[in-house]
Amino acid sequence: MRKLALSDEILLSVQQPARYIGGEINSVVKDPSRVDIRFAMCFPDVYEIGMSHLGMQILYDMFNRRDDIYCERVFSPWLDLDKLMREQDIPLFALESQEPVRNFDFLGITLQYEMCYTNILQILELSKIPLHSWDRTLADPFVIGGGPCAYNPEPLADFFDLFYIGEGETVYYHLMDIYKEWKRQGKSRKEFLEAAAEVPGIYVPSFYDVAYKEDGTILSFTPNNPHAKEKIVKELVVNPDDATYIEKPLVPFMKVTQDRVVLEIQRGCIRGCRFCQAGNVYRPLREHSLDYLKDYAYKMLKSTGHEEISLSSLSSSDYTELEGLVTFLIDEFHGKGVNISLPSLRIDAFSLDVMSKVQDVKKSSLTFAPEAGSQRLRDVINKGLTEEAILSGAAEAFRGGWNRVKLYFMLGLPTETVEDMEGIALLSEKVAETYYDEVPKEKRQGKVQVTASSSFFVPKPFTPFQWARMCTKEEFLEKANIVRGKFREMLNYKSLRYNWHEADLTVLEGVFARGDRKTGALLEEAYKNGALYDSWSECFHNDIWMKAFETCGLSIDFYTTRERDMDEIFPWDFIDAGVSKEFLKREWKNALNETVTPNCRQRCSGCGAMRWKGGVCYENKN
């Protein structure tokens, strides 16, 4: 039996000891002394959040297929254990072997959202790995980052030895082979980084110098090592069926957020919403074949015993064989105690028919994401959802027995006017009215309930809105107030609900989303003063951050509200994410002109992703 890193006394004193013991169904057991490479894969948040993440499980499975690699998992200890580990000087450990992370060859950290950045420093500190890459020695693991936030890794440049830009399935094996060879030869840390820097998709931040202009923007960004590439081109799986998926997903003992089989049906998106980073950086859209998905659906349900299977993609309705897939899942699994959940579906006759088969209509609600309150602003953001489509979808749903609707919006989008904001209340009201128009009194099951939520818009790198000005906290709250005021004027006010996201947190997210290397010091300062688990509202302390801006002499406005010049060198410009800067500029101008760009299946808009010679760009072009 394994010896746990934590004593019974500690495990029985902290909340949810299941977070720290590993040993779950399908966790991989290897003898650490019989592998060449030990890889600690970390999600810098608490276990139940991290364990719900698909990408980490894909890489866990992929690494462990190799006999010479042992990949284990690491998560952020919750605050109660964090405190005990510091008091009792217990080093952070990986779940499988329960051995200290510092003994590993690699610490891989997935970067899913900006507000987990302080947790990265927690992971490093508790592991007793020096925070700064330049302080590390041969006794330390190499710290590598990946995931969506790696598309602007600069705020984290000081803390990572290297970053992997793009999809993990392609060059990791190659990188591991290079590592093995380096280890065999017993060379210096720098020599490994030099070899790694030549691998496509790998970025070694210490091999680049950044010079700034007087106004704080970037003057130049240049390699300082002959092995470093001028541009880092993102990695991408051209044919997704060639990549391995997870046959035996881990099954946590405790209930985690994603307590089900997750089947990724496609990567990328054809829609081209101008605010959406995922829709841009994962281009082109690439679908899995129906046979591949059927095979994995069987294997994963069998190996986990999960009672639910869910489809994952940015826009499931665009999957060309959706009907065949859904029919298969219903025929094969529904009725055998397996629920089928279908997120991100467009509401239409087909999806309503499917949903009525797999869900309890009375208990479920419908979700629309118009994102903006008026057609004008939806044209600006290129969200192809029209009011007519929403209202006819809602009408159909109401006739089918649903009476709860959720609507998602953003506030603070470029060019937004008071009319656009008020449109959120007006559209919600129209949805409510549709219910009373469509469903005769005797057939109504209680009142209709429309819940509108708005988040605040954060401009992200590699989107047409990367040049956009972001609002201040005060502006955001003012906008939310305007919307709330309009809701109060609505006839069906009692059937409508409106809530909005935290503004302080959004502003910080905006700083790091488009942050440069200078923001690394800010992060460190806030962490040292107690910032941790910032994405958890009960843990977030805005005052710590405000003080850190002051101490570091950095301005929030520089990163958020500043108008950016079209020719400004952005911190992330050294990355080639597939979509060209010319395309993004074109799209930014189209946005300001309220011009809609058709989706990839209607017409190619020449974004640059075609060079991968795959996916939607080559559909029907054999």
């Binding site: 039996m1 000891p17 299941a18 040993g23 003992f253 986990t304 015993g305 999960h306 009672e307 208990k363």
Partner: protein, 256 residues
Amino acid sequence: MKIRIKFSKQGEMKFIGHLDIMRYFQKAMRRADVDIRYSEGFSPHQIMSFASPLSVGLTSNGEYMDIEVHSTESSEEMIRRINEVSVEGIRVLSYRLLPEKALNGMAAVAAADYTIQFRPGYEPEDETAWFQGLLDFLSRPSIPVIKKTKKGEKEMDLKPLIYESRLLSCPVPEEKQDAAGRSLAPGILLRISAGSSANVKPEMILDAYCKEAGETLSEFAFLIQREELYTRQPGDAQSADGNILVPLDAVGEDLL
């Protein structure tokens, strides 16, 4: 068909709470292809119930759950199948067919056996003497304790709820044996009332004794293990009510 399953919960599984153990078995039933019955409706759930929740921190050799199945293979085959898809700390020990009219485990349970030893590192100088002191305490004619209930505090007598107590040697769990560690330790066995009518937890007895002896021990001082759950069956004319205690799975029979 009603089936009663007996299982053990050992090692690190003691950190997994009752609700998560239920979720664990729901998934294990699917992995093992047990032809379990589901309730009707839009979100069908497996027909499965547990005899007695075990507190986090305790290990057990005698946990019970009842399920209903449409069809089944032999007991031996089903035990093999479920154990094949199980984690190390959970082992199915028996899988038996219940008579149609059998009470479910939760209603049937009447008593439980616990073994108690000191957690390594918390032993008093003379463990055997300590446990002997406890036995002497338990031989008193009455053992009044204050029980906290939702409505307030209530005095109750533990004495009639303790059916048996004796010294024994307990195996020390493997993960608790360090290099110099011993494999057996002095301990005590308690057979006490359990179930919905009068549920006694071993901690209540230990607390009562420590209070009496004026000792304050760490909440981590003991390793407590449940060994068995019992139900009452008619049989013994010698006993007060003509009933004897038999293990919960004595009610069923093996499927051949």
